[in-house]
């Protein structure tokens, strides 16, 4: 069977995409393909035109298919040839160059052009747009706009819709004063409700764009070239250029002339064929399906797929049933997402809303019968991926509506990639689905960058980049070849923590300088020093060679540095318990050394704030209490409630346990600080559920151990790790967990991320079921570490370095010469 002739009129995004889809279904074997494009280029990404105007992308960067693509796929492209007539009887198209081309199947993808509203004096005597007036639709428009904007003083944009604002953004970069004129009462009134539009307006005005709302433009002023515009209310705006972006008008004249049904655009059936002629297919902005003409790209991709399935016979029953409109973009620096309805339509539509105009945050959902029928989001778009899916798939929403707007009290919940459908769109600009990214990864592209280059995902507005990156990692099963340094324990040595530990042990490297000499090529990196010191202290325990210059100042002088360079002195107070004698000594020391502030800490200790470095050793002497280790990345404190001795609800002796915990773990270095708590009953007055390790008495002598809790910059409830029956078992199992954390966490990785990274199930398997056979070794390492821990305040008698506690050294010597 000889090939059929497929003629495509239009070489824009829709035409080219449809051909790509046809080729992907073996269409190259079925058809000889001829394409006509009115513009003298290959096809380009129209979405990125505003980037060309603002200069962030070069015209050559937005081409989608190079001319070689046409050659490779044996497509004959006639760029710059306009089709003037379709003869459906003889099945011929007539070109502006006088040629006639026969077809068996015809694809009309003529797209649309800028809609030019009827305004007096808009055109010159030849019928062309007057000098200084431009549409905003093609690469040639962009070129002309840029040239004009470089010399223009004042530019106006007619139309405050999506495209108009994009044009305004582009113009801003050329230094002219920019005015946006809009007929409606609010900007982007197709996508945003009035409050959201108000915030966008504010953001635009902050960037210097002048916005004129409810202005009907009636007349262009100026002879020969534009000097201003006049409005219906007789006011006038001076300007020396005008960009018209008042909507689009489908290019359907050709179809109308050859007798196809045209309403607002060419009317098609569910297979994307003209309703009058089954050999004529239509796709994109010149097609009208079930009364709707789509102006966004996402529907176009769906149409192209259906059309290709049908025309190639791959799936003759493939049907297009309309698209749900969702869009996500950045307008004037504001992240915006909009989908479906913008206002409720009936009494049963429920509105869930949050508004914080001063921070540019706005979230509004319209829910009908438990399903999402519309949403507007401004500012924080962290929940949008989930909402777009729920909207598109019409899935039921969770009853807890608040969780649709925010992540509260729980770690940020990303949509899980397992649940995400393969065809779910990730990049809306370039129409890339999850499945396409997966295919690219299986074909050998293992870095986000190479996947983005191959699929063009993330290369449009860029808002989906982080999701593309996460997806690539997910498809690689955690083996994405991203920048390898992220896995290094310190940036200066190309080893993971595990590799580094092995090298340190094998080569007997006991000090930070020895490690940097042996493994970092002798190049000393300041930022790596404390991280290496922490690791060596954990690996070598008592045999660690403590070079103080590797330590942060807090760990050189054993106090917390304050903003004025003074320090805070915090003695140990296990379980928050102290004696009257200790209290008196603290009060006396505060008096004697003129301590400006005495403050209770969150960890149930007393903080003497504002102490001079040189006073510290003497104060420690007078206090006669051990160091409270409240200043570094180590075991910090164990908070407790009053427990069973006095509390009428107490189920377990939390105070005694806290004292034991403190005596056991004090002085231990760790990757991040460790804040612990014990609670005598599930009322949890000591907040044990949000600690790195927390023990809660639950009655009958039992204790629940929670790990990975946090209530600081990050809030997380700890995971239940084990239930044990004695204080000793709490000490043993928390010690085992702490030791595993100390040996395996990244530097500065707190337990809340460590526990999430490893997973509580795996931690239980390793530490309770001994799945790796390391429990005995961990327990022994913890015993050895605690035995080696010292009270650092004893350095008051034996300073570790010369002038360790001197704030300054006064030189009395006169000038040398």
């Amino acid at each position: 069977m000889s090939k059929q002739r497929l003629v495509v009129i239009g070489n824009g995004m829709a035409g080219a995409r449809a051909v790509e889809e046809i080729l992907a279904r073996g269409g190259g074997e079925l058809f000889e393909i001829v394409m006509f494009g009115e513009e003298p280029y290959g096809n380009y990404n129209r979405i990125l035109l505003s980037n060309v105007v603002n200069g962030s992308q070069d015209a050559t960067e937005i081409f989608l298919n190079s001319l070689s693509w046409y050659e490779e796929n044996r497509i004959r492209l006639h760029a710059g040839v306009k089709i003037e007539k379709i003869d459906r009887v003889s099945k011929l198209v007539h070109g502006s160059d006088g040629t006639m081309t026969p077809y068996d199947k015809l694809l009309i993808a003529t797209g649309s052009r800028a809609f030019i509203p009827p305004i007096k004096n808009l055109h010159d005597e030849k019928g062309a747009l007057k000098k200084g007036i431009f549409g905003f639709r093609t690469l040639d428009d962009c070129g002309a706009i840029i040239t004009e904007a470089r010399t223009a003083r004042k530019a106006a944009v007619l139309g405050g819709g999506l495209l108009g604002l994009e044009a305004a953004r582009g113009l801003l970069t050329h230094g002219c004063e920019v005015h946006v004129i809009h007929l409606a009462r609010t900007l982007m009134n197709m996508q945003l409700d009035p409050p959201a539009a108000g915030m966008v307006k504010k953001a635009m005005e902050a960037l210097g764009v002048h916005v004129h709302l409810e202005k009907a433009t009636t007349e262009v002023l100026g002879n020969g070239r534009i000097t201003g515009v006049k409005f219906k209310d007789d006011t006038v705006l001076d300007c020396d250029m005008l960009v018209v972006s008042a909507g689009i008008k489908p290019n359907s004249e050709l179809a109308m002339q050859c007798g196809l049904t045209v309403e607002r655009a060419i009317v098609v059936d569910n297979h994307m064929r003209s309703v009058d002629d089954f050999d004529v297919y239509v796709v994109g902005e010149c097609a009208q399906h079930r009364g709707t003409v789509y102006g966004l790209v996402a529907p176009l991709w769906e149409q192209a797929k259906v059309l290709a399935d049908h025309i190639t016979g791959k799936n003759p029953s493939a049907g297009y049933y309309g698209s749900k409109l969702a869009t996500k973009l950045k307008v004037m620096g504001v992240e915006v997402a909009s989908m479906g309805l913008i206002e409720p339509e009936g009494v049963e539509d429920e509105v869930v809303q949050f508004s914080e105009p001063s921070r540019g945050q706005y979230k509004k959902l319209i829910v009908r019968k438990g399903r999402l029928v519309g949403a507007i989001m401004l500012g924080d778009l962290s929940k949008v991926a989930y909402l777009m899916q729920a909207f598109d798939k019409n899935t039921p929403l969770p009853d807890e509506r608040l969780s649709l707007l925010f992540d509260i009290g729980a770690p940020a919940k990303k949509i899980t990639f397992d649940e995400m459908a393969d065809e779910a769109q990730v990049c809306n600009c370039n129409g890339v689905s999850k499945g396409k990214i997966g295919g690219c990864v299986s074909a050998g592209k293992k870095t986000p960058k190479s996947v983005m280059e191959a699929t063009r995902a993330g290369m449009g507005c860029g808002s989906c980049k982080s999701m593309v990156k996460d997806l690539v990692e997910w498809f690689c099963g955690g083996e994405a070849e991203e920048d390898p340094t992220v896995h290094y324990y310190v940036p200066s040595i190309p080893m993971t923590r595990r590799e580094l530990t092995a090298a340190v042990l094998a080569q007997g490297l006991r000090s930070v300088s020895a490690v940097q000499n042996a493994l970092a090529g002798g190049i000393e990196d300041a930022a790596s020093k404390p991280a290496l010191a922490s690791l060596l202290s954990i690996v070598w325990k008592g045999e660690y060679e403590d070079e103080r210059d590797a330590r942060f100042i807090n760990d050189r002088v054993h106090g917390n540095i304050q903003k004025d360079g003074t320090f805070s002195v915090i003695p140990e107070m296990a379980g928050g318990i102290c004696t009257p004698a200790e209290l008196r000594r603290i009060a006396d020391a505060a008096d004697r050394y003129h301590v400006p502030l005495v403050k209770l800490t969150g960890g149930q200790r007393i903080d003497l704030v504002g102490v001079k470095k040189e006073d510290m050793p003497a104060m420690w002497q007078d206090l006669a209490m051990p160091a409270g280790s409240a200043w570094g990345k180590h075991y910090r404190t164990c908070k407790s409630c009053i427990g069973s001795d006095y509390c009428r609800f107490g189920l377990g002796d939390s105070m005694a346990l806290a004292v034991k915990v403190e005596k056991r773990f004090r002085g231990l270095d760790s990757p991040g600080k460790l804040k612990l708590a014990t609670a005598g009953c599930p009322r949890n007055c000591s907040e044990a559920l949000v600690k790195d390790v927390g023990a809660v008495a639950v009655g009958e002598g039992k204790w629940e151990i929670y790990v990975g809790g946090a209530a600081g910059s990050h809030i997380r409830k700890g995971d239940l790790f084990a239930v044990v029956e004695s204080h000793d078992d709490v000490l043993k199992l928390s010690g085992r967990f702490i030791q595993y954390y100390r040996e395996n966490a990244k530097y500065k990785e707190r337990t809340y991320s460590f526990v999430e990274r490893i997973g509580i199930a795996k931690l239980k398997a390793i530490l309770l079921d001994d799945s790796e056979g390391i429990c005995a070794a961990l327990d022994a390492a913890m015993d050895e570490s605690t035995a080696a821990a010292k009270d650092v305040w004893l350095e008051r008698n034996t300073p570790k370095t010369i002038n360790q506690f001197r704030t300054d050294l006064t030189v009395t010597d006169e000038a040398a010469e």
């Binding site: 300088s513 300041a526 070079e547 942060f552 100042i553 010369i802 002038n803 050294l809 030189v811 000038a815």
Partner: protein, 105 residues
Amino acid sequence: MTRKYKLGLVSQIPSGEGRTFHVDGIDVAVFRTRNDEIFATQTKCPHKGGPLADGLLGNTHLICPLHELRFDLTTGQAIGSDACITIYAVTRETTGELTVELPGE
């Protein structure tokens, strides 16, 4: 015009650390790297006045203890920021005696 002041022996500063010296009304932070190079700078970080002598030293880079601004001690220039600190010339005799040159009348 500059004036020279003797600071005493280099051994007053532990290797890899810095100390502040008070010289004739001027405070100077003096650093001794692990390679035994000596640098002298102003004492306070231009950002929020952090005590630079308490910073972390690695090679010729210094990290302020308060907010981790980094400086190159050979030039005084902050890394990744426009901030800059004053560098004073300092010399060491074979005896280990340090001399710093400070602005004076």
